[in-house]
Amino acid sequence: MRSKQKLRIAAFSTVIAFVTTSGAALAQKKYDTGATDAEIKIGNIMPYSGPASAYGVIGKTEAAYFTKINAEGGIKGRKINFITYDDGYSPPKAVEQARKLVESDEVLLVFNPLGTPSNSAIQKYLNSKKVPQLFVATGATKWNDPKSFPWTMGWQPSYQSEARIYAKFLMKEKPDAKIAILYQNDDFGKDYLKGLKDGLGAKASAIVAEESYETTEPTIDGHIVKLKSTGADTFISITTPKFAAQAIKKLGEIEWKPLHIVSNVSASVGSVMKPAGFENSQGILSAAYAKDGADPQWDNDPGMKKFYAFLEKYYPEANKLDGSVVFGYGVAQTMAKVIEMCGDNLTRENVMKQAASLKDFAPDTLLPGVKINTSATDFAPIEQLQMMRFKGEKWELFGDIISGELSN
């Protein structure tokens, strides 16, 4: 009798113990809208149509990356449901799509929406709704502002910090330079120009000419001719790939041989240097934070091998010469890392908290030594770049890895 009772008590206590432990486990799993045991909804906005459709590749690469994650079992057993919409690079459409993602699809977060105008348009809305706007695909400096916009974070190095690196380089290597600048008349060009002028500081008078162009212009030959006539010996090209290639080619044709710096946006071997002609590209300077998919020097790099294997299996029609593919892979990998760090606490608040606690994370496609670091006061994930010079058919990195951190 007694023993029977004992047994019963024991059984009872086990049940209690079981209930309490499983209760504790339940308490650890926390979800906001968009996350469940089975899946995590991630929203995205890309210009698949319209003037910036060249960047649509980024969204396709990201979709492929999440397909790969799901095929490999998801993150902690949860599948990623990647919902991506087209905004045609129009801010009003971006607002419509962001609201659709948040209110209709009920995503956990909005990941890597592209373009400064589109992101500016949705920033206030997403912050008021407390929905993470993570790793936006633009290099404007304003995304690193955790005080005013705690739900928005950039990813790539800001245009201004990159420009400051060139300014530092010029002041050291060519203090008496006469600088001519060609820039795209939009947020990218203007932000870059500001970084350059800030970096040069008192030396800003070294800029002898600045010319802007519109993306609707068929060619920029007229600008180049004008810049050459100023007698400048240093040419900084703040241009997108097509125009960077036109400038390189035109410089070769009119035999103007200044010190030529090309912004990172256009430092692609496959989509700029090769079409512009390797013979015209020798000696061009730039800075990079990621490896170039078209550059043979990375053929045996373990990270890039993984990248090529991914392309082969999940995105075979991709053009590996396209820098956007490398970009999409790296940023998607960062996103996956953050979700992994969140563990079972998939609230929007925790997503932001984890995104702001990345320590020395290095996606496969970043240059050796470039690492992602964030903190509650530092919302600029990648801040390091390395200078490089074009030689033969590839970039040669030189100097140290430089941090372009802005002190503001």
């Binding site: 698949y48 149509s49 319209g50 003037p51 459709s53 649509g56 969204g59 396709k60 991506t84 919409y85 087209d86 045609g88 690079y89 129009s90 801010p91 009003p92 459409k93 607002v95 419509e96 609201r99 659709k100 948040v102 209110e103 209709s104 373009g115 400064t116 105008p117 500016s120 348009a121 920033q123 206030k124 809305y125 304003k142 008349n185 939009d186 947020d187 203007k190 519109e214 609707t216």
Partner: protein, 337 residues
């Protein structure tokens, strides 16, 4: 004989009898009831889309007055829309003006702008007018970016606009308030436009559209009416632009490119040139069809959109108006039986 050339010949825009320009009372009431009631039952996001539907509807209506009413063709409506949007945004953000008060200002400024633009446009017609208005549309984003105005316009970065709350502590969301606010303005402008086209001035405009020389022989002041049509059209577009800025909470040069002007033009064609109620159908087309196209294929969304557009113009070359006429005939038959 090749000297006799007219590009958009008067017959290009078919004469629409003025009674056919509006809806019957019954249909109007049903539409009104739908517009009033639907927002009560849907999510905020859909309400936002419906607000945009009304706003683009207004802009298409404005183009319809210009093209369908006076026969002048414009690819430059995005410029007027941009001026209206920036006027509202600047007045709200820099001068702290109430959002509702900025709209008449936006309308007036655009009316003046359109009226002035209408002067040189008088000498142009058809393809030439299309090019002139097209030029205006391409120039506008560049003007908005110009360094000299950057202090007010925010340059390439644009301006963020604050969304208004419902007044008098009404317990409805910002989106719903803005929807009903927009609806009231839209209905007011619609009634104004219908009356305008049915008035003496409207008859003068249509006379010009059908045959300019004949109209002038009958004593219509062609120059005045044509520029007025430009002014009224621009003014309404400006009000739509102002509303758009408030609804989207953001203005930037990239929002008002030639793509917007082309969309508005497509809206007019799909809705039926010269048929004012069609404007809302056209607006629905330019808002929802790209979403459908994208749903079918991401990589080919542009192509799918093009194919859908072809389908529509093949089936109903005269736009929604044609559907309405067919429906009316069917109804008539049913009644007789």
């Amino acid at each position: 004989m090749s000297a006799v050339q007219e590009v958009v010949t008067p017959a290009a825009i078919e004469a629409v009898p003025k009674r056919a320009m509006t809806l019957g009372y019954g249909t109007s009431l049903i539409m009104l009831a739908l517009l009033l009631l639907v927002p009560l039952f849907v999510k905020n996001f859909i309400i936002f889309q419906l607000t945009m539907l009304l706003i683009y509807g207004l802009a298409v209506l404005a183009l319809n007055i210009l093209t369908g009413g006076s026969g002048q063709f414009s690819l430059g409506q995005s410029a007027f829309y941009a001026v209206g949007a920036y006027t509202s945004a600047i007045l709200m953000e820099h001068a702290g003006m109430n959002y509702a008060l900025t709209l008449p200002v936006a309308g007036l400024i655009c009316f003046g702008f359109g009226f002035l633009f209408g002067q040189p446009a008088l000498r142009l017609s058809g393809v030439y007018l299309a090019l002139a208005t097209f030029a205006l549309a391409t120039a506008m984003p560049q003007l908005l970016k110009l360094g000299y105005f950057e202090h007010w316009t925010g340059g390439v970065q644009g301006l963020v606009v604050t969304k208004p709350d419902a007044p008098f502590g009404l317990p409805i969301s910002q989106d719903m308030w803005l929807y009903y606010f927009t609806l009231v303005i839209t209905i007011a402008i619609y009634i104004f436009s219908v009356n305008l086209l049915q008035s003496r001035s409207g008859r003068a405009l249509m006379a010009i559209r059908d045959n300019e020389i004949a109209a002038s022989a009958m004593g219509v002041d062609v120059a005045l009416y044509k520029t007025l049509a430009f002014g009224v059209s621009a003014g309404i577009t400006g009000i739509a632009g102002g509303l758009g800025a408030i609804a989207v909470q953001f203005v930037a040069p990239d929002a008002y490119t030639i793509t917007l002007a082309i969309s508005l033009f497509l809206g007019m064609v799909v809705g039926g040139v010269g048929w004012l109620p069609g404007s809302i159908v056209g607006s629905a087309f330019i808002i929802f069809v790209p979403n459908i196209a994208e749903g079918i294929s991401k990589g080919l969304s542009g192509a799918v959109f093009g194919v859908l557009l072809f389908l529509v113009i093949f089936l109903v070359p005269h736009g929604a108006r044609q559907v309405a006429i067919v429906a009316q005939q069917l109804m008539g038959k049913l009644k007789r039986n």
